[in-house]
């Protein structure tokens, strides 16, 4: 273990100065971190308030309980959460900071004008062999280190927290959002209590206790256990065990409903997963895989056939059923199937309509898409046959159809995806806007007869001597090659006032 240097030695003095400097530096770092992270306080408050407002709005709209806290707790969360985040960031910054010894000494060098003497001496003292000038520098620093220890330096300067007007505006906006959330929460609660009271008064007393009625009523009108129990005390005496069992029943029912929806979504996600797996395959292997999958799905199909068939969409008998149009209307480019494209007309003749039981998972997807208002199959709701997506009129000169524009239906809006939607439905002539290139200058020479002119050349001896200054003569001329470059550069600089591009770019 190394012995600590005596306090009056230069090494000891430098150690004390470094410790003092480290303290100053840490305080400065803490204040800097506060300054820096105070700027995120208001944006964080805005985020929290926005989230609370969103939760309250969802509560009011859907009757859920995303934000179950009361007024006091809401205000507490909206204020305390941003403050906690800022405090955590400040503490993290402070904990990560490591004060360098040279940096601590540099503070004294800078503030006392010591010209790096303390830093240099600290470096030279660590060396085993010192040169003459290094020894002289150490000796020189000795007196300055003692003087520096006697001086008390003020804390490092730092600007006050710079809460810019945008930050303050964010804070005001957060307060507005929070107030809105509180008001909406209060308003929806009062509305719920009013409707609850109306329902409670409208329903006869013996019916109120009917559990079936409770389940039939919509959620906002459904009597709540606490409030109903309060009224029950005044109107009807109900056994305590019955009171306790009713909320339990509701919970069980909700749980079973959730479980059913979870099962359905799980089945849907399984179907989607298998669909994605099929999409990953292609070509012949894809067809083989589809065949194999069909074999595997045979029991499921049989089950589906046992169930009563869904009502098929009404179709006009004179229009051929386009299985590819129905399937490919989604624009899928699945591995085994052909997507909706200009090959659809070829498929019209060859492809047979698929049995209904074959689309066990496809039906679910179609239902979902219809519910979601997807534009991929616009004609199902209109009870029309799927459109022909061919871009060219049929060769046999059939009747002209207005939906023959490759967009998946009549009208200008695109209703399909895939290759057909990427092709232009309306043939456009090749047309380029712009100015025609003038091309090379053409010189036409015309035949003409030369005219004679009288020459009036002066004799050299009759020329007078120069009696005035020659005037300003230009220096070296710019080469013709770079003349236009220089001219354009200065014109661009003076007219646009823009920064010229870098030369090396």
């Amino acid at each position: 273990m190394l012995a600590s240097p005596p306090p009056d030695s230069l090494q000891g003095q430098l150690n004390r100065l470094a410790a003092l400097g480290a303290g100053r530096l840490k305080r400065w770092v803490l204040r800097c971190a506060c300054d820096r992270y105070l700027r995120i306080l208001f944006p964080a408050a805005l985020c929290v308030s926005g989230a609370i407002l969103l939760a309250v709005l969802l509560d009011a709209a859907a009757g859920t309980t995303l934000w179950p806290f009361g007024l006091l707790l809401t205000v507490l969360v909206a204020v305390a959460l941003p403050v906690l985040v800022v405090a955590a960031c400040v503490l993290l910054e402070f904990a990560r900071h490591r004060a360098d010894r040279r940096m601590c000494l540099a503070l004294y060098d800078r503030d006392l004008g010591l010209k790096d003497r303390l830093q240099a001496a600290d470096q030279y003292l660590a060396k085993a062999q010192r040169t003459d000038f290094e020894e002289a520098a150490v000796e020189d620093a000795r007196g300055h280190a003692g003087a520096a220890l006697e001086r008390k330096l003020p804390p490092l300067e730092i600007r006050p927290p710079d809460l810019m007007p945008p930050h303050r505006r964010l804070g005001a906006l957060a307060a507005v959002l929070l107030a809105a959330a509180l008001w909406i929460g209060q308003y929806s609660a009062s509305q719920a209590s009013v409707s609850e009271t109306m329902v409670a008064e409208a329903i006869p007393g013996d019916l109120r206790e009917d559990s079936n009625l409770t389940q039939v009523l919509p959620d906002p009108l459904r009597p709540r256990p606490a409030s109903l129990a309060a009224r029950r005390n005044t109107e009807v005496e109900v056994p305590r065990s019955e009171q306790g069992s009713r909320p339990g029943e509701m919970e069980t029912r909700e749980f079973s409903t959730q479980r059913q929806s979870t099962d359905r979504s799980a089945a849907g996600s399984d179907a989607r997963r298998s669909n994605q797996a099929r999409q990953a395959q292609s070509g012949a292997s894809g067809q083989r895989a589809e065949q194999q999958e069909q074999d595997e799905n045979e029991p499921r199909r049989r089950e589906a056939r046992k169930q009563p068939p869904k009502e098929p969409p009404r179709e006009q008998p004179d229009q051929p059923k386009e299985a590819a149009g129905l399937k490919g209307g989604k624009g899928e480019m699945s591995g085994g199937r052909m997507a909706a494209s200009d090959h659809a007309s070829a498929q019209d003749k060859t492809q047979q309509p698929e049995p209904e039981g074959d689309s066990d998972y496809g039906d679910e997807e179609e239902d979902e898409e219809q519910k979601a208002g997807s534009a991929s199959k616009p004609l199902i709701n209109q009870r029309k046959a799927p459109v022909n997506r061919s871009l060219t009129p049929s060769a046999d000169g059939g009747e002209e159809r207005d939906d023959l524009n490759g967009r998946g239906g009549p009208g200008g809006l695109k209703k399909t995806r895939g290759v057909a939607a990427m092709l232009l439905g309306v043939p456009l002539p090749d047309y380029l806007q712009g100015k025609v290139n003038p091309g090379r200058m053409k010189i036409q020479s015309e035949q003409g007869r030369a005219e004679e002119h009288a020459a009036d050349a002066a004799l050299a001896r009759e020329r007078p001597a120069r009696d005035a200054a020659v005037g300003h003569t230009l220096h070296r001329e710019i080469p013709p090659l770079s003349r236009d470059v220089v001219r354009n550069y200065f014109i661009a600089q003076r007219t646009n006032g823009e920064q010229a591009p870098k030369e090396n770019e």
């Binding site: 040279r102 010209k115 830093q119 062999q129 003459d132 000038f133 520098a137």
Partner: protein
């Protein structure tokens, strides 16, 4: 190292530093007898001489550039030569050449006639009037301290220093110095017009009856000794890093370069710039009674050391951005290590 040894070493360093300061100030006072004002230029020339570097003096005619160098040669009692560069000057005119001389017996022989480049202090007047071929003949002498003519290589005596002058106005018929040669000058000093109060002293000294005589207050040996003293000055890590950062700050695409460097500089300083900063910083520290270079010394000499090492691009010339402005910008953006907040 024991305390007594340490004290003796410190005394030796102190004695060397004292001698350095004394000689420096004596030479400066002698030169100042003839040159009025221009303290910064005189300091720069003397600093370059003590560092073993060369100086490029730039200024309009009539500001005493040639007189300054000539008086410096007289004050130092050095072998001084002057070359007036012209466009038709050839390398052999400054390096020397073989000439046919007549011997005592009536015969002839080829002997080497040395040129004006072989001296201690060379004044290359209007160096930008010489062709690049002749300018390049200076390169070997400035960097290697030797002159090669044919199969003969001549070692130049120390101290050896080239003080070149150039006129920034008369650009017609001049050949700008190539970057390789500019880089070999430790300092580029701008000689400006004297101040109003200095004119009276100039007129008095140059138009009076008495002619100012410069006394030799040092010699070649003392200059060589003082050069060794200057090179022995300690350089702490903080000053070294700051010099490196400043030099890198002049290089485009460097982490330390400000935006103006990226926009206006085609070529930044080479490592010779960092060498120059450290050497000149050592002399400055000695002159201010310190035994260790500080970052302030480095920053103080940055302008004359770096201004001619920055090659401006076309945009800088079009926007009239000078290298001095860019060096100032680098000094503002690059702070000393440990104190950068």
């Amino acid at each position: 190292m024991t305390d007594s040894n340490a004290a003796a070493a410190a005394d030796r360093a102190r004695a060397g530093a004292d001698e350095f300061s004394e000689v420096f100030n004596r030479v400066k006072s002698q030169v100042s007898r003839l040159i009025v004002g221009q303290d910064e230029v005189i300091d720069g020339v003397l600093t370059a001489l003590m560092c073993g570097g060369h100086v490029l003096l730039e200024g309009v005619p009539g500001l005493g550039k040639t007189m300054l160098v000539k008086s410096l040669g007289e004050a130092l009692n050095l072998n001084f030569s002057r070359i007036q560069f012209t466009p038709d000057m050839m390398p052999a005119d400054i390096q020397g050449t073989m000439v046919l001389t007549e011997t005592d017996g009536g015969g002839h022989e080829l002997t080497f006639q040395q040129g004006p480049l072989i001296a201690n202090l060379v004044l290359a007047d209007e160096i930008n009037r010489a062709t690049p071929k002749t300018q390049s003949a200076l390169l070997e002498a400035m960097q290697e301290r030797q002159v090669t003519v044919g199969r003969r290589t001549i070692r130049l005596d120390e101290p050896y220093s080239v003080m070149a002058t150039q006129n920034p106005v008369e650009q017609e018929g001049t050949y700008p110095l190539p970057e390789a040669q500019l880089d070999r000058f430790l300092f580029k000093q701008i000689v400006s017009y004297p101040k109003e109060e200095e004119y009276a002293a100039i007129l008095e000294r140059t138009t009076g009856e008495q002619e100012v005589v410069i006394e030799a207050v040092a010699d070649a040996e003392s200059i060589v000794r003082l050069r060794a003293v200057a090179r022995a000055v300690a350089v702490p890590e903080v000053a070294q890093r700051h010099a490196v950062h400043l030099v890198m700050g002049t290089q485009p695409d460097s982490d330390y370069a400000p935006d103006s460097i990226g926009a206006y500089v085609a070529l930044g300083s080479s490592p010779r710039g960092a060498q120059g900063l450290i050497l000149a910083g050592k002399v400055r520290a000695l002159l201010r009674g310190r035994f260790s270079v500080s970052t302030d010394d480095i920053r103080a000499v940055a302008l004359p050391v770096l201004r001619h090492r920055i090659l401006l691009n076309f945009h800088a010339q079009a926007n009239r951005v000078t290298s001095d402005l860019l060096v100032e910008d680098v000094l503002q953006s690059v702070e000393p290590p440990h104190t950068a907040s």
